[in-house]
Amino acid sequence: MLFSPNHWCRPSQLRAAGILGMNRRNGHYIARYNRRELYPRVDDKLKTKLLAKQFGLQVPELYGVVGRQSDVSNLAQKLEGREQFVIKPTQGSAGKGILVVTGREGHEFLKPSGERVVMRDVRRHVNNTLSGLYSLGGRNDKAMIEYAIEFSDAFDGFSYQGVPDIRVVVFQGFPVMAMMRLSTAASDGKANLHQGAVGVGIDLVTGRASRAVQYGRRVDVHPDTGRSLSELVVPDWQPLMELAAQSYEMTELGYLGVDIVLDKSKGPLLLELNARPGLAIQVANHAGLSPRLELIERLSRHDRTMMRAEGRIAFSQEKFC
C-alpha cells in the first residue's frame, strides 16, 4: 500500500503545480517575513483581541479575563447573567481547552453537544487552563471569557457541531488563498484538518466553494450531514476579505493565517491569527501557493507598501481566481 505508486508523486509534479513545501515555507517565508518579536501579537489571543480593538477590527466581545488562581473563586460572579459564553486559554493551540456554553438551566450549563456541566466543572476547566494544560509548552496561562458566536444560517448542514471558520492566508497584506474548515464527527467537532475536518477551497472573488477535501482526498458532500458542499457560499465575503487584509497592518507579520468566523448578527469576526499557517489549504483549493506568493514578491516595494487593503484585495481578486 505504502509503496504503491499511487501514493507518491514526483517532485517535478509538485514544482509544476506550484505547491509550497514545509522547508520553503519555514526557511523562506516564515523566517524572512515574520519577525520573531512580533509573535506574541498572534500567539497570545488576549493581545490579539486588544490590538484588534485598537485597529477597529471586529472580534468576539471580551467578557472578562481570569488571570490568577485566586480569581477562580469569583468566577460565578463573572458569569452572572451570561447565558452563552466561551472560555478559552489565551495561549492555547489547535483549538484545545475551549469550553463553549450555549445556555443555562438552573445551576447547570449546557454544552453544544447537549452535555451538561456544573460550576465545579467550569472552575476545574479554568484551573487547568491557568496551570497551562492547554497552552503551548505547558506555560501558565490566562483564561478569557468571551462572546459565544451564533453562527450564520448560511452554514446550516455544513458543519457537525463546532463553529465552521474561514482561514485566509495573507501574504504582505494580500489575501492569497482562502479555505473554509468544517468540523465533522471524525474531527470531534474540531475544525482541524489533521483530525478529519473537511477543508473547502473558497473562491477569492465570490466566496463560493470550489472544491473540498477530507484527509487530503476529494469529497463532494459533508460526511455527516450529506449536504452537497458545492452549494456552500460564504456571505459577507467582501467585508471578510477586508478583515483578513487589514490584519497585516495590525500584526506586521508578512506571512499570516487569519481565522475568521461569521456571526449571525455581527458579521465576520476575527477569531485568531497564526504565524505558521499550514499547507493543507493548497490541497483544499487544488492550487499551489508558490506562484501567488512569488507574484506578490515581484511587485515593487512601492506598489506593495503604498497599496491600501482595498487595493490589495482587488489585486488578489484579479490575479488569483
Binding site: G21, M22, S131, G288
Partner: protein, 517 residues
C-alpha cells in the same frame, strides 16, 4: 543574498579547516584513516571488601605488571579517604607489584577498588628473566612429606625425558587418589590453591625452576571472574603452566598473570572478613590508539588519546552527538519524519548505546507504556499539570529501579546497563509524551513516538559505528565537516520525501493541477 554568500564562505572554511587538519594529522603524526587493526583492551576491577576493626588500616593487594603478551595501559585505585600508594615495586622486577591503601582509623564495612586497563600486545615481548620466586617449603626438606615427594619424583622421572613429560607424568600420578604418597601430600589440602602449592613444592624439589601463579582468564565482559592458580615451570627456552592433577599443560594465550610467586595476594591489617572479587569488561580499540596510549607518546599529547580510558569513553560518546544531530536533520528536514522534540531521538540513541538496542527498546516500550497508563489514571484525579507530570516521573524511576532489583535477583545481564543516564532520559521522554498526549491526543503520541524511535534507532547505528567513532576520536576536526554539512542542509528549501506522499492525492483525479495561479 549577502547572508547566502556569508554562509557559503563559512561552509567552505569549515570544510577546509576540518579536512585540512585531519589530513595534516594523518600525514604528520601518521594516524591511519581506517583502523585496520584492533586490539582488545580489558578493564579489570578488583574489589576488596573487609570489616574494619576501628584501628589503623593497611591493605596491600598484589597487582599485575607488564607481561609477555599483555601490557598495562593505565590503572587507578578509587577509594574514598584512603591514602594510596600506587604500584609499589617490592623488588626490581616488574613481576612483583602491589598497591597499598592506608588509613589512620576505620570502622565498619570498607570497600576498596583497584582498576587496571590491560591491552594485548600485537607482538609478544620477552620479560621473564631467570627469576627464583619460590623456595621449597621447609616441610618438604625432610620427614614424611619429603619421602613421599621424593618417591613420586623418582617414579615420574623414570618415564620422562624432559620438563614437559615429567610434569605430565607427575600430574598423572597426582590424579590417582589411592596412591599412598599422594594421600600423604594432600592431607588436609582441599583447595585448588593448596593443591597447586603441593605441585609447586614437588616441582621445586625435583630441581625445576618453578613458581606459583594466580591468574585471570581474559574473556568476555563479566561481573565475577574467578582468580585461579597454577604452577609455572621454566627451563631455558621451555616453559609450561601446570595445574595439579591435570596432565595437559594450560594454554597461556588468554591468561593474565595477576601475581607471580609472592607471599599473599591480599594483606589486611586492622580488618577481618576479607574478600576480593574481580570484574572484567572488554572493548576493542584501534591498535594505534592503544600503542600511543601505552607509550604515552608526546606526539599524542595534544589529542584526546592521552586521557585515561574512562575519560576517553566519555568523550567518545560526546563526540558522536554531532552525527546524531546530522541524522535528525536528515530525517526531519529531508525525509520529513515527525519526532517529538528535536533532540529526543539523540538522547534515546545515547540511552540505547548504554543499554544495547534490544534491551533498550524493551525497556522503552515497558517504561513508556506503564508511564502513560499511570498518566491517564492520574489525569482522572484532577491534578494540576506539574504535579501530575512529576508523579509520572517518580513512577518511571520506580519502574526502572524495580527492573534493576529484579534483574539483580535473577542475575540478568541487563541490570548494570540500567544506569542513571538512561533512567533520566526515559523519565524525561515519558514526561514529554504525557504533555503531547494532553495537547494532541494519543494518535499524535503514536505518530511522534514511532518517528522518534525510528530516528533514534538510525542515530544509534550511526553513533555506534566503530569506524566513525575511531575517525572522529582521532581526528576531532572532522566535526567541522559535520557542521558544514548541517549548515548546507539548513539551506535546503526543496520538498520533503514525506510531502511526496502527503500531496499525492492532489494529482489523483488528473484535474487542472497547476492551471490556476
Amino acid at each position: 543574498m549577502k547572508s547566502r554568500v556569508q554562509l557559503r564562505t563559512l561552509i567552505f572554511l569549515l570544510l577546509m579547516v576540518g579536512l585540512g587538519t585531519a589530513f595534516y594529522m594523518h600525514k604528520k603524526i601518521g594516524y591511519p584513516f581506517v583502523p585496520r587493526e584492533k586490539v582488545p583492551v580489558w578493564t579489570i576491577e578488583a574489589k576488596v571488601e573487609f570489616d574494619a576493626l576501628d584501628e589503623p588500616v593497611k591493605v596491600s593487594l598484589a597487582i599485575p605488571g607488564e607481561q609477555a603478551l599483555y601490557g598495562v595501559l593505565d590503572e587507578s585505585a578509587a577509594s574514598d579517604d584512603y591514602g594510596y600508594n600506587p604500584g609499589l615495586n617490592s623488588k626490581e622486577d616488574v613481576t612483583f607489584r602491589k598497591v597499598v591503601w592506608s588509613k589512620e582509623q576505620a570502622e565498619g564495612k570498607q570497600e576498596l577498588y583497584y582498576r587496571v586497563n590491560i591491552f594485548r600486545r600485537t607482538q609478544a615481548v620477552q620479560l621473564m628473566g631467570d627469576v627464583h620466586l619460590n623456595e621449597v617449603d621447609p616441610g618438604y626438606r625432610e620427614g614424611p612429606l619429603a619421602v613421599a615427594a621424593d618417591q613420586l619424583i623418582a617414579e615420574a622421572q623414570k618415564y620422562s625425558a624432559d620438563m614437559e613429560t615429567f610434569v605430565a607424568h607427575l600430574n598423572g600420578l597426582f590424579a590417582k587418589k589411592d596412591n599412598q604418597n599422594v594421600q600423604t601430600l594432600l592431607a588436609g589440602n582441599t583447595s585448588a590453591l593448596a593443591r597447586n602449592r603441593v605441585l609447586l613444592n614437588v616441582a621445586l624439589k625435583a630441581g625445576y625452576n618453578a613458581h606459583l601463579i594466580r591468574y585471570l582468564e581474559l574473556g568476555e565482559t563479566a561481573n565475577r571472574v574467578p582468580l585461579q592458580s597454577a604452577v609455572f615451570l621454566h627451563e631455558g627456552e621451555q616453559s609450561i603452566l601446570a595445574e595439579f592433577g591435570r596432565v595437559q599443560p594450560i594454554e597461556t594465550e588468554n591468561l593474565l598473570a595477576w601475581q607471580r610467586g609472592g607471599p599473599a595476594l591480599l594483606e589486611v591489617e586492622g580488618g577481618e572478613n576479607v574478600r576480593v572479587a574481580f570484574a572484567m569488561r572488554v572493548q576493542q580499540l584501534p591498535a594505534t590508539i592503544v600503542q600511543q596510549s601505552a607509550a604515552k607518546n608526546h606526539l599524542a599529547s595534544f589529542s584526546l588519546l592521552n586521557l585515561s580510558i574512562e575519560q576517553q569513553n566519555a568523550y567518545g560518546l560526546l563526540l558522536m552527538i554531532p552525527f546524531g544531530a546530522l541524522v535528525v536533520v536528515l530525517m526531519r528536514n529531508i525525509i520529513g519524519v515527525k519526532t517529538s522534540g528535536t533532540f529526543m531521538p539523540i538522547l534515546l540513541a545515547m540511552a540505547f548505546l548504554k543499554t544495547d538496542l534490544l534491551p533498550g527498546l524493551m525497556l522503552f516500550a515497558l517504561v513508556v507504556s506503564v508511564g502513560l497508563i499511570v498518566r491517564s489514571y492520574l489525569s482522572k484525579l484532577d491534578l494540576l499539570l506539574v504535579p501530575r507530570i512529576s508523579a509520572v516521573v517518580i513512577v518511571v524511576i520506580g519502574i526502572m529501579v524495580s527492573f534493576g532489583v529484579l534483574g539483580a535477583k535473577f542475575e540478568l545481564g541487563i541490570v548494570e546497563s540500567v544506569t542513571l543516564f538512561p533512567t533520566i532520559i526515559l523519565a524525561w521522554t515519558v514526561e514529554r509524551l504525557s504533555i503531547l498526549w494532553e495537547e494532541d491526543g494519543p494518535s499524535e503520541v503514536a505518530l511522534q513516538t514511532s518517528g522518534s524511535l525510528l530516528v533514534a534507532v538510525i542515530a544509534y547505528w550511526v553513533m555506534g559505528n566503530s569506524t566513525l567513532k575511531y575517525l572522529v576520536f582521532v581526528f576531532p576536526s572532522l566535526l567541522f565537516v559535520v557542521l558544514a554539512v548541517i549548515l548546507s542542509l539548513g539551506q535546503y528549501a526543496g520538498y520533503r520525501v514525506s510531502e511526496l506522499m502527503r500531496f499525492a492525492p492532489f494529482f489523483d483525479d488528473g484535474n487542472d493541477a497547476g492551471g490556476k495561479v
